[in-house]
Symmetry: none
Subunit: 191 residues, 4 copies
DNA sequence: TATGAATGAGAGTTCATTCAT
DNA sequence: TATGAATGAACTCTCATTCAT
């Protein structure tokens, strides 16, 4: 019954969300997951492997969340949809789930293996950029630039909201979203 | 001789920059700083306090770096100047100094005390926003929104550069910077 | 199907010969023997019992080896035959069989039960001593003394050879063997 | 105060003598030595290093014991003296001291470093062999052979005595010793 | 009989912190 | 004020053993 593997991963996610990665001990994890310490090692070689697996697992959930309700609307509608999903992802204070900030701090997230996995998972986003460029709506910059200009503000704002330093305000956020869209669109020419 | 306090902080910064926060042990710190282990505790209550102090100390240096060469030019020139400083801050790989990513991962960075300290330190930035708004150049949004739209892309790009995942290209970056400026400016109206 | 008992013992012997007693884990043993971990416990109460059984089992094989080719020659010829078998036993580096050194390090080898078993197994040797004494060839000392003087040098030399610290030289060894025989024989009188 | 190093080594020796090497745990050692677990690691890199150091330390004591009272008598007198010291060494049941059997089972005892140390320590013995050969008393065989024939019986008998399987009997043992001496001496010619 | 997932005590080791000097 | 030897709780991980299937 490999469902215990999942139980352990969910417990790890919750513990990291609650107390931070550097407070994650295998004993605490075992207790939280309601398994014996040794059981963890049936499913994961060691702590590092556990975190590595958690990374992929969380990324899958993150991608699922970000692309939830993603349909073939107009490119701008797609952008807006994703933008608010990134915002919500960051602002999520669900105590048993990692928010984006915590996710991005998992060590090894910069490994080549993970990067490839990430790239693959977020392909729909790149497809959207390409569509927008083909339709003459989005400016001809590399994906990294477009993502930074377009979505990093949403992630950062989400983070601020989750920390309680910003009131959630739909109409203002919509304005911000539109400005992000404009910033990557061809609606004004680069001087 | 309280100069030892500074010796210890500098040693801590270097060790974290080199080997990461989770590899910082008080023994290693003592050795690197060339003091006895017990001596550290004459200047800092415990490890947590040490890191908290380091946080403030580094923030001071970060602010100094960001605002270096900051003069009373036009608001757009000021913005551009800051934008590239944020970019460089993130991309800094100087081995005996924390880069922005490492800085932002110091635990406790989200405490109210620290936030107040940060707000105070970055006041010149808020002043610039106010100036721009008074001159009718920057749109009337709250500071958090302006910062997110304007500068988070720079920080994120800096991070990507430091990880080696982005080719550095000055002319492209200037285009990106201008788009960020446009995104917070009044040059296009919110629909 | 109690043949599994033997499969397990053989796997244990090989593992100990290869990696030493202190590296013998029940998991590894199960894997090597191609049985489930729990199966071992159907044949052996616990690890200690397993080793105890292995001890007897190996002793049987050891005795078989020592007494192989043992015929009713002259007593001195019998002695020489046994002497070189003890030597070979110690120097044996066959990887899936315990050598004498490894055998003698099995814990519990000094138990009374084992000692009785050993005594019984090595009876032919004692018979040889008695024969020699009846024929007036071997001096009237207790068996322990005769064994120590006569055969311990062979065992020790075997050990040195197996460790690679002694050049193997047949003619020299024959001289040594003869001196051991002389040392227990009546060929010189005790002063 | 590095005297704790010695306290730890003595405690380790006692524990191994009492319960065997494979039952030596660092916790038990700490308790027996009356130091904290961490303290052991101030003096020894890890468990392996501790045992390696113990090996050298015990060898020093062993040599001291074997060569105690060793004077410039006749070669045969020297031999007899050493022979009984080897016997006593093996038969030693002093509970807080390793006997020869336990000593020889310490892992790494076959390392080149240790072998050189051992050779050096037992030099007086080799000198005795050489003297005997120069005086025409001891036969021309290599040291390893002479040692095996001459002293291994003493060690083995000592071991048997310590296990309680042999009564200590001075006059009989003297006979055995003389036979060992004869076995390496020129008093009878190799046929 | 046989399985192998699960157990949990205990292993070796680290490290923040203390305190006699 | 400064030292650094000593502490011991807590860490990651192993492994002999059990038991529901």
């Amino acid at each position: 019954m490999a469902y215990k593997r999942n139980v352990i991963l969910r417990a790890a996610e919750q513990l990291i969300a609650d107390e931070g990665l550097h407070n994650l001990s295998m004993q605490k994890l075992a207790t939280t997951a309601q398994v014996a310490a040794g059981t963890i090692y049936r499913y994961f070689t060691d702590k590092e492997a556990l975190i590595s697996e958690l990374r992929k697992d969380v990324l899958k959930n993150v991608a699922e969340f970000v692309f939830s309700g993603f349909t073939q609307e107009s490119v701008e509608a797609q952008f807006t949809h994703l933008w608010f999903n990134f915002l919500k992802l960051g602002s999520n204070r669900n105590s048993n789930q990692l928010n984006y900030q915590q996710y991005s701090q998992l060590p090894g997230i910069e490994s080549d293996e993970h990067r490839a996995f990430e790239q693959n998972t977020f392909e729909p986003l790149l497809t959207m950029f390409k569509q927008g460029q083909q339709q003459g709506l989005i400016t001809d910059l590399e994906d990294e630039y477009l993502f930074s200009i377009g979505f990093e503000p949403a992630i950062a704002l989400g983070h601020r909201i989750s920390e309680g330093h910003l009131e959630y305000n739909d109409s203002e956020l919509l304005v911000v979203c539109k400005r992000c869209w404009s910033a990557i669109s061809t609606s004004f020419s680069d001087s």
